[in-house]
């Protein structure tokens, strides 16, 4: 799979779920890509690097989201 194709799949997949949640576990994304986690990681890393996805971390758990989505994005950019 090409990076662009993977990116379209992920962005589309996550947008569909945006009504109910804005942060996703890595495994959710690997499932969208229908890949084994190790392989999916390469595509996901590139998406973060390109600014298509962003990390969210509670400190103990990490998640992924589309930039600018969710309550926290607004809260953290308020100043």
């Amino acid at each position: 799979m090409e990076q662009a194709e993977a990116q379209d799949l992920v962005v589309e997949g996550l947008k569909k779920k945006l009504k109910t949640k804005s942060k996703f576990y890595f495994n959710d994304i690997a499932k969208i890509l229908e890949m084994k986690p190790r392989l999916a990681k390469k595509f996901v890393n590139k998406m973060v690097q390109d600014g298509v996805l962003e990390y969210w971390s509670s400190g103990s758990t990490s998640m992924y989201g589309l930039p600018g989505t969710g309550k926290q994005a607004a809260a953290e950019h308020e100043d």
Partner: protein, 439 residues
């Protein structure tokens, strides 16, 4: 005069122990005076506001912190933990108060120059408050604002040869004991392997793709000074295959009182003459030692490496010469749900730097492959092992079940035969069976 009244915190200073409240007040005063004339990059009264918000939390009996967020440094999914307070008007100094985890060097060896550099940087771009070290082992820099994160990271990575540590669903900063640098019990070079794996697994450390956190810890011997057996998903504990080396002359010297037991550690009180029978032989958990006619002997086959005898008489008893490590998996020390100790997976493996620890890396990577595919979100390795069974782990890493995996006969028979492993499978001729066995 302090910015906020803190009667509840002040009370904590009245106890017999050194108080973190006194330390914070001292830091607040130092920042206010700013004798070095630093161009402080975050509010000068950050520590006063920290004391203020803590006092308020004590008063309300609930926290005023919010943790987690999208803050970090570019390309890293860990190392920074976002923290905000929910009373920013009252305590503007800690409105943004992010934590930075800094990877500690193997064995936690520092030069004073390095520590000075680190503290100067943190006084300038952060709150000046540090935690040396957090429970993961990292240096924790407590409290700075979002714009300072990249600046701190740039300075550390370009001028201090220093990386951030792990947080989130990452490999956490590997931690080790002081090892062969200062300890004669160390069965392998903990610092060398800790450093090697830290460098090898940079991607796992900084780009989160695990179901949850994953920790390595390296103990040079079964004394387990970094508590790897209790606190790491994969624990590497030094051990030996041959016999404990006995120096008979030194044994006599301990018995005669010429050498102090435990390296003189309990010298503050008179415990009476050293009694080898009571203090060593009688305390051996497997009863594998004997002291007869002035001679100490050990049935090494029964030794479980508890280290007690070696700790009591370090000059008389030494670790064996055929050394390596045991690998245990699945420990965790969570707040909820109770702690879990590691289970033995590999009884003995050579720790070989010449092939870059390939045997160990093979085990690590096969475990990750299994856990990444099968682990549920926020499920630690130890929980997956409990859910799917130890046998499934053995299949995933390609290790055959062996007696060392069983705590004692008939108590944890988790190894079940499969049909294809049994001659003839599960099928049988019932008529043939009934010839010899009545209903």
């Amino acid at each position: 005069m302090a910015k906020h009244e803190t009667p509840l915190l002040d009370q904590l200073e009245s106890g017999p122990w050194p108080s973190f409240v006194s330390d914070l007040k001292q830091e607040a005063e130092k920042r206010a005076k700013n004798e070095k004339g630093l161009d402080l990059q975050i509010p000068v009264d950050v520590v006063e506001d920290l004391l203020g918000i803590l006092e308020l939390s004590y008063k309300h009996g609930k926290t005023h912190w919010k943790h987690g967020g999208i803050v970090g440094v570019f390309g890293y999914g860990g190392g920074v933990i976002g923290r905000y307070c929910d009373q920013p008007e009252m305590f503007p100094g800690v409105a943004h108060f992010h934590t930075i985890r800094v990877a500690q060097p193997a064995g936690k060896f520092y030069s004073t120059e390095y520590l000075r550099q680190l503290c100067n940087l943190w006084d300038f771009r952060g709150s000046g408050i540090t935690n040396m070290h957090g429970s993961t082992g990292d240096i924790i820099l407590i409290g700075t604002t979002t714009p300072q994160l990249e600046e701190v990271f740039y300075e550390m990575s370009h001028n201090m040869n220093q990386d951030l540590g792990g947080s989130g669903s990452n490999l956490r900063t590997p931690a080790d004991c002081i090892g062969q640098a200062r300890c004669e019990y160390a069965c392998y070079d903990t610092q060398a392997i800790c450093h090697d794996l830290t460098v090898e697994y940079q991607d796992e450390l900084h780009r989160p793709a695990f179901p949850y956190k994953f920790k390595f810890k390296f103990d040079g011997c079964p004394n387990c000074c970094v508590a790897s057996i209790a606190r790491s998903d994969m624990s590497f504990i030094g051990t030996w295959k041959d016999d404990i080396r006995i120096d008979a002359e030194a044994v006599k010297a301990y018995v005669g009182g010429e050498i102090k037991s435990n390296g003189g550690a309990h010298a503050g009180r008179d415990w009476g003459a050293f009694d080898i029978q009571k203090e060593v032989v009688g305390l051996c958990p497997t009863g594998c030692m004997k002291y007869e006619n002035g001679t100490l002997s050990i049935n090494n086959k029964e030794c479980t490496r508890c280290m007690h005898c070696i700790n009591v008489m370090p000059r008389a008893l030494r670790i064996g010469n055929d050394r390596g490590c045991s690998i245990l998996v699945g420990a965790k020390a969570p707040i909820l749900d109770g702690a879990q100790m590691g289970s033995l997976l590999v009884p003995f493996v050579e720790v070989n730097p010449e092939d870059e620890y390939q045997a160990i890396k093979d085990v690590i990577e096969s475990i990750w492959d299994w856990w990444m595919e099968e682990g549920k979100n926020r499920e630690r390795l130890g929980e997956l092992i409990k859910r799917q069974g130890f046998q499934r782990l053995l299949e995933a890493v390609g290790i055959e079940a062996m007696p060392q995996h069983v705590q004692e006969p008939r108590s944890n028979p988790y190894i079940f035969w499969k049909e294809d492993e049994v001659e003839g499978g599960w099928e049988r001729d019932i008529d043939e069976f009934r010839k010899d066995h009545k209903r």
